[in-house]
Amino acid sequence: MKKKSEWMKRVFVDNYHASMSSPKPYRRLRRTLFLVMTTTFLVPLIMVTWLSYYEYRSFLLANLRWNAESAKRTVETFLAELQTVLIFTADGQTFEDLTDQNNLKKLYHRLKSNYPGVVDLGIIDHTGIQRGYAGPFDLLGKDYSDRECFKAVSVNKTFIGRVEMGYRQVPHFCIAVSSLDPDTGQSWVFRTNIDVTTLDKYIEKTASGGLSDVFLVTSKGEPLLQSSSRHFGPPLSPYPYELPHDRHGITITEETEGTDDIVLKAVSYIDGTPWALVLIKQGYVYGKDWSFFKVRLFYIVLTSTILALLVILRITKLFVERIREADEKRESMLAEIEHTSKLASIGRLAAGVAHEINNPLAIISAKTGLVMDLLELSEDFQYKEKIESEIRGTADAVERCKVITHRLLGFARRMDVTLEPININNLMREVLSFLDKEALYRGINFDLNLGNSLPVIESDRGQLQQIFLNLVNNAIDAIDKDGRITISTRKRDQNSIQIDVIDNGKGIPPDIISHIFEPFFTTKDHGEKKGTGLGLFITYGLIKKLGGLISVQSIVGVGTTFTVILPIKIKSRRRGQNVESKSPGS
């Protein structure tokens, strides 16, 4: 228990004192709250932003990969189709049929009408001599035995060659298939040259999806362009980058060109050809998408961060304000409790002292009384008068002490609260009737400002009389001569009524107003009218006992208002206390 209470003290009382001593803890609390809330908000935001950033990036990469696959399939399909046409033609006709120039020309024209990119057709016998030719040049009888297309097709049956300029200085490439003459048992080659512009057109078709460039390069040796590139120029221009070593699948690399230009490059080797397909996403297209995305993301993050910070600032401020208000309320409640308990302990102490003094006082009183009795009975003697006067002085002093001890004991005595229905307006009139003469004598007017529909309250008549007699008496003393005392009553809320005793007397200075409910505190002049300093102390105690509150407001030179708030019904807890207080003591 002790530990718990110490802990609670540390948390509440120490913090309370700390918080009251300076506004720093509130600033710290505000800062902490702000940081915690900001972090709580910003961490998910940053994570979502980061995820969006990388998701978008991987989306771009996937898109490029898809483009590369699609372009590669297009090129492969185009080449496969041409190869198939050659193979079917070779298989469908004999070497003799095809070396017949008329026959070959017909075939050439048929083929060219379907495939405008076909430049020429040629039939090469097993020695490498072109035996049949149809096309724009005079190539009949040309020796191809040293050419790559003849050598390679003899081994692989099909061949697709690199792009060359040839005799026409027009870039083209060769497709060749070999076939076997069943009569002679010797192989021959059926070849065609295809204009690169045809390939360009096909590749062009695949350059969708925001690609900036698609082209073919040679897959072996120094890379040379095999189709037209927007960036690197016409076929056979050098391609300035190295190709990836991995010849399978699609390799995507990211490179920076210049200062900010990020280039995404996809490279895919095309099987059965000397080519690799290169796709480039670069510069304005890739950059525009990307920077648009980045700018949009930036503005979304910036706007939501600013909004969140504003909301967090506002919430934090409100929250800390509420805490501060609650603290202040608690502070005033603690001060009130402290004040009440201080008065209660002073009251108990005073009553204890009064009791201890009362017995010796009773002896002094009895002794002086006896001496006076004896003096009265005795004959005159020297100093008799003097002794009588001295003894009377002693008796007066004892009487004064008696007034004090009796009032203190009266206060401490836990008298029963006898509850009865009370019309507070009637009670106020009764109280004032006790003081009519005094007021008249001093030229003081009573103003009654009594509420009309006041509820009948449940309280103790005798104690209420004492409370208001004390307050009005004080008001009379504060005015001294010629003034006005206003008594006003009103219903305060559903549970309480309020009585104000307002005088236009001299007022109470601010430095002593906090002490007026303490015992033995008096401002009344020492003399005939001197006070015991117990009136307001007892009034305070009685009002508390009846479940009420008393407060005071005063302006020096203007007057003083005592406000008493009484419950319409005294709470049962309080009644319980009173029942308990009936148990007799000594």
Binding site: H355, N358, N359, I363, D373, K402, S586
Partner: protein, 135 residues
């Protein structure tokens, strides 16, 4: 007419003796004892007072118990309680009637007031004796 017999019971010897002396000067037949046991012994020994001035707080047996004992012995004996203590003293009419005390006064009591109360108490005792019942 014989003097009114008053018994002062108070553990403060000085107070008891002085009060007895003052009452004697005022024509009462007053004696003083300093504990409740002595007071009850006197009563049991048929030295019955008319009025008892009884201090509430005394060692061993307090005033309220003594009051009950006295009333048990003779309900017509009138008891005036004297107290130096404020707390818990049954001063109200209801309590006074319940416990059977004639009155209760706080110390230091005014001698004239006390004298008056003794006389009233005596009158009540006589009335009770005449009726043969306690009032």
């Amino acid at each position: 007419m014989s003097k009114v017999k008053v018994l002062v019971v108070d553990d403060e010897k000085e107070f008891a003796n002085t009060l007895a002396e003052r009452l004697n000067i005022r024509g009462f037949d007053t004696s003083a004892v300093y504990c409740t046991e002595d007071a009850l012994a006197l009563i049991h020994a048929k030295k019955i007072p008319d009025v008892v001035l009884l201090d509430l707080k005394m060692p061993r047996m307090d005033g309220m118990e003594t009051l009950a004992e006295i009333k048990k012995y003779d309900p017509t004996i009138q008891v005036i309680l004297l107290t130096g203590h404020g707390a818990g003293v049954p001063l109200t009419g209801i309590d006074r009637g319940k416990h059977g005390a004639f009155d209760c006064m706080m110390k230091p009591a005014d001698i004239n007031e006390l004298t008056m109360k003794i006389k009233h108490a005596m009158a009540k005792r006589q009335a009770s004796q005449n009726r043969g019942v306690d009032g």
